[in-house]
Point group: C2
Chain length 356, copies 2
């Protein structure tokens, strides 16, 4: 039993299929926060109590696997190297908090990585389902299934009035966080993005850039998620998110059409130059690579770049991150060497397709 296979490959095979709205929605994720009634929440738990949470799951996994979920494997954070943990963070399988701060953290991962369950993070249990493309409802169904299974086996901290109890009051109630990662290059280029971010806040959704520092959205990737967990059912929360994201998708498509109509040449030039640089550079920083990859992905989606499957680019996106790059090359790399290896990796990936 080794974490190796989750570390080596940037994406599971099943994530590479063509999926609904995959040209704009990179992935859909559900996270459910749960706690056990008879133990203090992780922040207050002593090591032996946190250990009890892990052991509860270890025996549960041995006793009764959930049908249809495949093999589930449990890894304790203190078994993993710093680098292995970083890769799991970059793949969004665990949170930075679990990797860095949890004393007694553990992660359960399903074979094809669509399900991960964090133990002893902010809450005892965090069920996560991550699906590629726009599949937030499918992700919810899977998360709900796992939640029902666990609820049968475990005694959840639940209050008739407030719902599921959580460490942080912002999660109380349904304990659900539904989020969708979207690629919005045209809304950024046409400077409509800020208006849309404000509008989404007004309807109770949170948006943040991915991979960027602060408000800067590297690679034009944004994560849209619900703010409210209390006073609405899970289905209402997901329906609302689903509807708003559909509108965002429509806006992004209109912006793309407008760009293609009004400045096709400039757009093609930008896209192809980014492809030219990615397929030829000898050293490249993560920030630039991510921005140029966004251009290329847009080019693939618009049919301006042919013969590259979008999944290949999604894969590169993960591979570009620093820790993944280190495990990929099995070395502890200086930033300069990382930039060089990153450029090599990108070239090798893109040149597979260039000559077709």
């Amino acid at each position: 039993m080794s974490v190796e296979k989750f570390i080596r490959k940037p994406l599971s095979e099943w994530m590479k299929q063509e999926l609904p709205e995959h040209d704009i929605v990179i992935s859909s994720r559900i996270r459910l926060a749960r706690n056990l009634r008879n133990l203090p929440f992780p922040l207050l738990a002593v090591d032996s109590q946190a250990e009890e949470v892990i052991q509860t799951f270890e025996s549960l996994l041995k006793r009764e696997p959930l049908p249809g979920l495949g093999k589930l494997e449990l890894f304790r954070m203190d078994q993993l190297s710093a680098l292995e943990k970083k890769v799991l963070v970059e793949k969004h399988l665990i949170s930075p908090q679990l990797a860095e701060e949890s004393r007694k953290g553990a992660i359960i991962i399903s074979e094809n990585e669509d399900v991960s369950i964090m133990l002893n993070e902010e809450d005892h249990i965090r069920i996560q389902c991550l699906y590629p493309g726009f599949q937030i409802k499918e992700a919810w169904q899977k998360a709900n299934l796992i939640d029902d299974w666990l609820e049968k086996e475990l005694d959840y901290a639940f209050d008739e009035r407030y719902g599921y109890l959580t460490s942080c009051p912002t999660n109380v109630g349904t304990g659900i966080r539904a989020s969708v990662m979207v690629h919005l290059p045209a809304l950024v280029m046409t400077k409509q993005i800020n208006r849309i971010l404000v509008a989404m806040n007004q309807v109770g959704l949170t948006v943040r850039g991915i991979y960027g520092e602060g408000s800067e959205a590297l690679g034009n990737l944004f994560q849209i998620s619900n703010q409210i967990t209390l006073g609405q059912s899970e289905e209402e929360i997901i329906d609302h998110l689903n509807n708003v994201v559909r509108q965002v998708i429509d806006h992004e498509r209109s912006a793309r059409e407008m760009l293609v109509g009004s400045m096709r040449l400039q757009l093609e030039d930008k896209i192809h130059r980014s492809f030219g640089i990615l397929s030829h550079a000898r050293t490249i920083e993560s920030k630039e690579a991510t921005a140029r990859l966004s251009d290329v992905l847009l080019g693939v989606d618009l049919g301006m770049i042919k013969n590259i499957p979008p999944a290949e680019l999604n894969e590169l996106w993960v591979m570009l991150q620093p820790a993944f790059l280190q495990t990929y090359f099995s070395e502890n790399l200086s930033p300069e060497m990382r930039d060089e290896r990153r450029a090599t990796l990108i070239r090798e990936h893109l040149n597979k397709y260039k000559n077709r």
Copy 2:
């Protein structure tokens, strides 16, 4: 008899061979200024007198071709379109002054374009020999041969004390301007170029950037030529230029070695990015194209880019210029269309080699 063939092709075949110091010296040129004794200099000549100069050459060309020079063709400026004249300027076969200002200008071009004789420019006769690579002595031998032939046939304005008389006093004496076009990217990158430009001025040579406005040297191309025409023999002038250029070549080579030794990765990155952009851009301005072509040429010279003959790049250099681009596509193009066509042309040229 048509100027067509001199307009269509950017470089004659013979210019594409591998030549001495061709990685640094693009071309070598000799220009001799001569005037006829019995006619006023062009600035003062009336049309009928300028016409006499042309007719003198027309009958000379019919009567007695110079052995070994192949066919010589004469074109009057007023027979050529504005665009055709611009291309001849971009190919350095005629001066901008002959193209734009001369009322009764004409040009005689040899079959392989190594010899061109301008009539009624600043002087009655300007013999030019343009050779690729570092062949300033060979160019001088050819120019001298033509000069001897013409001197037998014509009555030159010559003074026993001052030598050949010319319109501008800076040309009096030998009437010679010997110049060498050099590609000095490493001296520019290492910021040694200014010191070298000053030093060349101190030893009586003039240096100016090519294709740039004012002192800016686009594409890191510089033309080095003699300032002094009086008080030295042609051989002394050429030997001096030759020796100084040899030193410049040595300096450029040392600078290249230093760059490769101390920042190979950055240099490779710059070179390959320029190649990636040139081979993928959909629109590109002349200025950027020239700068990036300089990077690629350096890459070819250093063996970092393989399979592209340097002559192909020299050819592209000429093709990038605005008027050539217009004749190549047989259209009168707006600047925007020109940038697009330029990008297309470059892509087509480089992609011939990319997949080898």
